[in-house]
Symmetry: C2
Subunit: 356 residues, 2 copies
Amino acid sequence: MKKTALIMAGGKGERFWPKSRVSLPKQFLSLTDDGKTMIQLTVERIRPLVELEDIYIATNSLYRKLVTEQLPGLPEENILCEPVGRNTAPCIGLGAVHINKKYDDAVMIVLPSDHLIKNNEVFAETLEQAAKTAEQGENLVTIGITPNYPETGYGYIHYDKEKMLGSANAVKQFVEKPDLELAKKYLASGEYLWNSGMFVWKVSTILNNFEKLMPDIYEGLMTIKASIGTSEYKNVLEDTFGAMRSESVDYGIMENAENIYSIPGDFGWDDVGSWLAVGRIKANDDNSNVVSGNVVSVETKNCVIEAQDKLIAAVGLDGIIIVDTQDATLVCDKEHAGQIKQVLAALREEGKTEYL
Amino acid sequence: MKKTALIMAGGKGERFWPKSRVSLPKQFLSLTDDGKTMIQLTVERIRPLVELEDIYIATNSLYRKLVTEQLPGLPEENILCEPVGRNTAPCIGLGAVHINKKYDDAVMIVLPSDHLIKNNEVFAETLEQAAKTAEQGENLVTIGITPNYPETGYGYIHYDKEKMLGSANAVKQFVEKPDLELAKKYLASGEYLWNSGMFVWKVSTILNNFEKLMPDIYEGLMTIKASIGTSEYKNVLEDTFGAMRSESVDYGIMENAENIYSIPGDFGWDDVGSWLAVGRIKANDDNSNVVSGNVVSVETKNCVIEAQDKLIAAVGLDGIIIVDTQDATLVCDKEHAGQIKQVLAALREEGKTEYL
């Protein structure tokens, strides 16, 4: 069966401020040493399985230009602009009806646009297996990541070690982000995977599930589908998509559907959730610093310093993130990286929107 | 007797990098909330005692323009440009021969240009008393600061509580910077003062002491004196001053001379020795931060943040100094403020002299 992909690229990436901005979110930035942007790496990674003309990008109309610039050769009509963000369920539904209109049925691979994967070959093999499982009936397949520490920032997948379909395991339950104690239990049990937000299914399967579990959204999707290719499309999309409720596919479908399978992925996954991740991903110096740009450091360790032309002098620092841009500089303790969003809230409150 | 002053303003102020630069050292910066520069405050502070035409500024020729800009009305000939830095003894000797040439004898007040004093009235009263003591014979008077904690970064003055001359105490000994244990003993004894580098004496007294204790330097000073007012002055100064050895007045004279007196000063003195001092001097916010310029801070305390127009966002920091300038940004842990000099050394080594 034909393989297609939907890459979700509508995120704001606030946790990478000040390098990411409303006008240039994380998926359009290069955070790796190779200079390629996150979305470019995502497309490159699935090209062995999916033709460029069968890759769809769901994003915000703000980012249409960035997508066309960063992904030359991608058909213009494959850029699906959500009029407003409505979380993953409506986004995936929109992709599904476009693919459904074009091919009737096909395998649909759903991927975030801002994760990193070290081993592309194993990743492609994993997706191949997931596609096979998805084709064998009405199965919803999720790619789970084998956890190597008790992360409390991800949802987990509780899978059945005994009940298998090919190389996929039946899923017992999707569970919310655990506290540390629970995360340790999950890790020790060997029966849990991280929920990576990567899914594989047939278009017909996911649409059937929308019809059954989220009939209101399904109805809207059908209205949108009818308008695809007509002059009414844009208006219909705006009205109908805009009227949908905001819901995640995990909560709206995966937690309630049947025939859920997971394939454990072991391909060096990182969701690059914050500046902390840069310390994991990029090459460290002798003092465990990740440094780029014009930097002088003295007795400084465990820091992430992203300078540009302007000189950054770091003295006696430990575990500090410094990110310099043209108009703003972030200096943040690693343990407080989650509070960068509070800076953005303060900037909004003070009307300093030029920095957002 | 006529009162004159020599303000020593040749320092490089490296500890205030990146705001201070080779081309704009600390004494020409404003570090207080009133916007006045350190040297302007120094002059303002002694004007109740000394006419502007009797204030001499010893500095480097690099800074002649800064002195004329910041001290309008000061006679051009009162700017004494040292061709090279030779520490305080030759510098004070140069001031002394200029005053000696102009007035034969006079009271000479010697002051650093980069210290802060909170209570100018008490300061002026203290100097008045010192001048009286200096006039009563061949006395060398130093202004000692009553210590309030066991500082290890200053030299101390051991004074005789019993032996007094007016309000001045005879000095038993000048002692070098102590270790912490010794500093605690000094503090507990009540017999020690911080050596602030402020002196009062008659010109005749200090020149007699040069003749007796540093005859080589005295000889050079006399050569320079002979050339003052002639077309030869600049050349003579360059040759003769340049040939002098580098020596502090503490080591060269005060530690060996007789008739040394000290007046305990209690006027809110701060030598503003590093960025740490800014945390003491400027108004703190509720989280003990000293913040200026375009700053957003989240869960940040005990920091000194000097921003300009560019936004500095501080998140989760404790005890960090951030100083932003046009071409360089310093991020320094307070406990490592002494290592800023290593940044300058690294910049020199890497040939990045534009930042010095």
